[in-house]
Amino acid sequence: MEKEIESIGGKLVSCTDSDLGDVMIVGGGISGIQGALDLATAGFKVYLVDKAPSIGGHMAQLDKTFPTNDCSMCIESPKFVECNRHPNIEIMTYTEVKDVEGEAGDFTVTLIKKPRYIDETICTGCTTCVEYCPVVYPDKFNQDISNNKAIHIYFAQAVPLVTYIDESCRYLKDKTCTVCQGVCKNGAINFNQVPEKVEVKVGTIILAPGFEPYDPKLREEYRYGEFENVVTSFDYERLLCSTGPYEGEILRATDKKHPHKIAWIQCVGSRQVIPGGNSYCSAVCCTYAQKHVILTKDHDADAECTIFHNDIRSYGKDFERFYQRTEKLPGVRFIRGYASIMKEDPVTKNVTLRYASNDEGVKEEEFDMVVLSVGLTPPADAQSLADKFGIELNGHGFCKTNPVNPMESTRPGVFISGAFQGPLDIPESVVTACGAGSQCGEMLNFRRGDLAKAREYPVERDVSQEEPRIGVFVCHCGANIGRIVNVPSAVDYALTLPNVVHSEDNLFICSTDAAKHITSSIIEKGLNRVVVAACTPRTHEPLFRDTLREAGINQYYFEFANIREHCSWVHSKEQESATQKAKDLIRMAVARVSHLEPLQEFDLPVNKAALVVGGGVAGMTSALSIAKQGHHVYLLEKEKELGGTARKLYYTLEGLDVQSYLNELIQKVYINPYVHVKTDTKVIDASGYIGNFVTKIDSRGIVSEIKHGATVIATGAEVYKPIEYLYGKDDRVLTHLELEEQIAKEDEKLLNSESLVMIQCVGCRNEDRNYCSRICCSESIKNALKLKEINPEMDIYILFRDIRTYGYKEDYYREAADKDVRFIRYEPEDLPEVEDGENDDGKSVLKVTVTDPILGEKLEIDADAVVLAAAVVPTEDSKDVAALFKVSLSPDGFYSEAHVKLRPVDFAADGVYLCGIAHYPKLLSETISQAYGAAGRVLTLLSNDTVVASGSVAGVDESICISCGACIAACAYGAISFHETPHGKKATVNSVLCKGDGLCNAKCPTGAISLKHYTFEQVYSQIDAATNEAL
């Protein structure tokens, strides 16, 4: 295409014609990626723009993710490829926004594509140029700990997987070197590239620029950059990572030795009202530091780890257990208090910390390495982004959002997702992306599908009659496999196996480029079966199956040999046997792939209606968002009125009038013609499957059936009814919700109390309920502030274990302390006591006794009221609902999402989604985010006419079926039944209901029923190959 050259600010740029899309997402981290995938699947054309050379954001830099310690890159990178392959996603990296014009529904965004000095369409990502480049330069992706070259690929799984040249290049500086041009066989290097201006017209925008880690150089006392063995937590992530600066070895910069004694300092740049600090809590550091400790102990079981902390904020789902797991490890110390960095030993470069210990007073201690748990701060260019997009920032420099709709910015049509809202962790970044997506869908529903394209695959070639021709692709996974397993020898070995006609190795077989290469190899070499020996099918099987489809081969002719998790990672010290094991695994995979059969996936029609169970704020918000996108929604509520738990709330920390918000919401629900409300209604039976559910309900005694394609479970939670602290025995003892009600109703006696004591963690963080209820600290502080506002004379005490005011809520904690609310910490072994008694004036009071942690003495407080921060507990019927909809509960009785990090509002059961406090306790704004998120996920399903079901289902050979019914008894899905044949009744499988677990297969005495893709023949071939080396 002929490009026009014009001059912008004295620099030459080339201009292309304007492009047309539906949504532009700025920021290609996990939040932007999720938003792009959801919207693209729901029928919109999406532009995904990132200023970095690759999509991925900060999550790509992390080693593992808490609290499951999943490998971060491994769960994120399949999404890169999915974005890359999606016909409705246009990825634009190394691209910045210049300006935005227009209004919601019709924005024109001008982008500047920075020059990579590489022709992206020609570069193969071979990295020969990187080897020859003479300029050694600190590697930004590895936090400048190790070096890279002036020309390099941003990181190994980058999308797009092409090189770029940064400003350290000698040619760009003084034209003294062009070695890369000389060695590039494809002539991809082009030093004449200039910035390119691109105009894109879109209807809505999602800003997902993420965050910036706090820079500890802002405060001298952290000695960062001065003492080399003081590192940040982001540096430490890279040190832990196998693709990091030392290939997964934790080494000190000074002597390249393993640090043995490591300290973490929490709240660096967070919870500080000082110049260079931030007043808010960064919300993620407590748990990521615990993750660091666990991983450090994995690397070196004898490592001594010390965490200097303030409150431990394990407020998220499963965080409390994660904390306990860390604390129980040998050689791990949690020390409550501040540690200051004193000095560096000039010889050993060890770092000395000074801290107040519990028993020995102020103490100095030397550490091999100190990790600063740095907080999250707004993106460096937040102000310029705000100016370009015409949105406002809040006092902390993050984006200003609507308190009851955290995805909404101050400008219509511009939505916000991820950590640009403020400190959020990964699941919340994903939830808000889904939620922002749903709101874009509401705005652009009229044009859904207009620009979208369906994915097209070549016609499938029937190879079932051909001899197997197997291709084996063995992956180095950077150094993950290649460093341990002798990959070339595994390739040679594969070639000796029967029916293997092609084998080769690859640095990263999951890269976009390598996947294309497999496709072309299948076509050129006439392969009809493929084995990839690399990592795990859990994350990467869909990608390789897709690769086969691209080449016109049935996707079930694919087999994975996991030579990373099952081999190189666990046998890192036995290279020879690891290589032998890799060969064994490849031999087994080859044997199995020879016996695989082509299977057909089938399209199921999708019923376009949705069912939402639970009419609280979560259910109503979700239902409305779905309805606004043109789908009928049945909203069920078991009580007589809509509203749920929010009926008991009157105001929020931020000052929202909850009741008027709620009434408005209820009105909107009733007015919307697409929402069909059924109160006083219970679910009595649920059957069906994704796209085609049938739910039987009892609505005020009338039983009826609802057919729907998607289900949202938003059944809420309850408040624990305390048995502690005289609750129920003395009416001066209340729960926090009851207090809120009394405040709202202006109960005089209460408001005139001289003294009021709040006790935190009642009914949770104990053996019965081993979790934190997340909201109670904020609730108590909210009530305390309200009481102080009404009656500033009242003495208010909050007895707590850890104050968990994560994020911006920290500011309210500080405000409460400033207003003389007294916070007294107690230990779980030494609980406060409440007794009926009299004060010195003979007035009847509640005597509260608690140990003062600083003085170690018992304090006695005379209180007029005691308020218990009672736990949030699952509803009594959640077990029944879980059983009906075949979804699972966590050990704490809340619903379990499909994946803690990346599928936070999906259930493992397809087509069923969740939101609200049924998932886990959360604040109103968080519930609303999740409700929009669930709606966004529902739309990815309901926007399509069909949904694909797996081909790996059971089938029956009627000639050997003896009609014993063992399979029917084994099937929990009711997928098998008898049907009449001329030879009597025989079992038959309803493929749509079959989930492919194969229980029937193991029960059938004659082998008449078998699970496709896991037949006896296929499994036997693998078992036989395991031992038969001469196969």
């Binding site: 790996s952 099937c971 989930k995 193991a1002 699970l1011 078992i1023 031992t1027």
Partner: protein, 213 residues
């Protein structure tokens, strides 16, 4: 496997027949099912029975190991595998360390393999138990009630099956059979009587040996 409930008894004995010295079955934690089927209980039940069968044919039941490990418990999985490798290493070669020669071992495993369809029926009909904990399963499989069902419906069939397999090659005296199968001669006589009554074998009285009918 998509679910440990698909792990078939025949997979286990196929693995032993192919010369493996140990078989490890990994499942999700009990009560923690990604389907709604709780197939891991079936796997546990099947493994417990397989251990009994292994014991019955004179092999060490420790050669089968079932562990419940979640995807998030890499360390525990590694520990379990290391421990099991050590167990199998200590047990030594299959058959050899139990004092069974290769031919007899082959015959025993073949007998089990042939009986698996029948064992499945017995398990479906009589041994379809479901308990909450591993301990309860262990209790049941150590109980008199189980022993009775096992001996009557499976144990005897296994012994008879082995006797018949032996006799397929040539007629043998009861003493020879006892030595071959590693069981007492009174047990052999009991099984011979029972098999004879079913008309499966006959006594060649003149030669004091038994042959197929």
């Amino acid at each position: 496997m998509m679910c440990s409930g698909r792990v078939d008894m025949s997979f286990i004995f196929r693995a032993f027949a192919k010369g493996n010295d140990g078989v490890f079955v990994g499942t999700c934690h009990l009560g923690d099912c990604h389907y709604v089927t709780h197939g891991n209980y079936d796997a546990l039940n099947m493994v417990m029975l397989s251990k009994k069968i292994l014991t019955h044919i004179g092999l060490n039941p420790e050669r089968i190991k079932i562990e419940h490990v979640s995807a998030g418990e890499g360390l525990r999985f590694a520990e379990a595998m290391n421990e099991f490798s050590q167990t199998v290493r200590n047990l030594g070669l299959l058959g050899q360390s139990e004092g069974i020669d290769q031919d007899a071992l082959k015959l025993k495993l073949q007998t089990v393999t042939e009986l698996i369809p029948y064992i499945r029926v017995v398990q479906n009909e009589r041994l379809k138990v479901r308990f909450e904990t591993v301990e309860k399963y262990e209790e049941f499989y150590a109980s008199k009630e189980f022993e009775k069902i096992f001996n009557e419906l499976i144990g005897d069939k296994l012994t008879q099956g082995q006797i018949i397999s032996l006799l397929r090659e040539k007629p043998l005296a009861p003493g020879e059979m006892a030595a071959n199968l590693g069981i007492t001669s009174s047990e052999v006589s009991r099984q011979i009587n029972s098999s004879a009554m079913q008309g499966l074998i006959k006594f060649e009285e003149n030669q004091k040996r038994v042959a197929l009918a």
